[in-house]
């Protein structure tokens, strides 16, 4: 079978590769991924407007949006609902829950962006996007992805934690251990030569073994 007659199989973005580019209608006008260049972007999809789990997620994400923007991070939502549905839902969230939604939401009725990012999970729903989260760095590279099923609301603390860990990793060339929170000790990358293995013991870190040393993050 040649490539022209092969069925199109949607592929997921891969970590470390450029995020698929798009231009789409949003509640903040027509936006392209390129418009966010220089900022971190958290692109996330939700199954449907006017549903309770998605509403709780939007409220919690809206609460952390100002803190994220201070860190150079922009939120960008997406579902296959129309612009008018998005606008009505956002107004309803403000009216019923007192929460403004400060971030744009893509109206992906033709599923173009959802297909690019592998947000559709046909075994779960043929018509709704799953709860996907993509962390895209200021250079437009996919750095992390999280997928949740339709029935499980996302942990917004974890979303914030992931972007904070990625930013720290970039700034200080360290790794973050399990359950790391800002202020916790970080992992020093393991040495790669025999001389550096020998030197590691006296490097002033919290030393368990040459391949397992931790230190305080720089402030």
């Amino acid at each position: 079978m040649d490539s022209l007659s092969s069925p199109q199989i949607p592929t997921l973005p891969r970590l470390g590769e450029p995020a698929p580019v798009f231009e789409a209608e949003t509640t903040h006008g027509r936006l392209s991924l390129e418009d966010f260049r220089g900022s971190w972007v958290i692109l996330f999809s939700h199954p449907a407007d006017f549903t309770p789990v998605c509403t709780t997620e939007f409220i919690e994400l809206a609460k952390v949006a100002p803190r994220l923007r201070e860190k150079g991070v922009e939120l960008l939502g997406l579902s296959i609902d129309s612009i008018y549905s998005h606008l009505a839902w956002i107004e309803t969230i403000k009216e019923k829950f007192g929460q403004e939604i400060p971030f744009p939401v893509i109206a992906d009725g033709d599923r173009k962006v959802a297909q690019l990012y592998g947000m559709m999970m046909p075994a779960q729903s043929g018509t709704e996007t799953s709860r996907c989260v993509f962390f895209i760095d200021p250079n437009g590279v996919v750095r992390a992805m999280i997928y949740y099923p339709l029935t499980t609301g996302r942990n917004v603390d974890e979303i914030v934690r992931v972007v904070e860990a990625l930013q720290l990793t970039d700034e200080q060339k360290v790794a973050t251990p399990a359950n790391w929170r800002p202020g916790d000790k970080v992992i020093v990358p393991a040495p790669r030569t025999v001389e550096d293995v020998a030197a590691r013991k006296s490097a002033g870190h919290d030393y368990v073994d040459w391949w397992f040393t931790m230190t305080d993050a720089k402030r």
Binding site: E25, H28, G29, R30, L31, S32, E34, D35, F36, G38, S39, R69, E74
Partner: protein, 76 residues
């Protein structure tokens, strides 16, 4: 086109951006002047540029004659 409403009027963001562009601006300065996020400024400049309401030279954006007319029509 998102910067122009279906009835032909300018969107609120487009009006703010065009009005600010009566003085030349770089996108970053425009974001500071208008209080809008940089991504909205870039998107609005792209859209109003396609409509020939603004022009860019060496990274600096200015209002065109067509842009001035659009602002005046909108205010009328």
């Amino acid at each position: 086109m998102a910067c122009i409403n279906p009835d032909g009027t300018l969107s609120e963001v487009a009006k703010a951006v065009l009005a600010a562009l009566r003085r030349p601006h770089r996108p970053e300065d425009l974001a500071a002047t208008t209080g809008l996020p940089l991504y909205r400024i870039r998107a609005t400049l792209r859209e109003t540029g396609r409509a020939r309401l603004v022009a860019e030279r060496d990274g600096v954006y200015v209002l065109t004659e067509l842009g001035e007319e659009a602002l005046e029509l909108d205010a009328a």
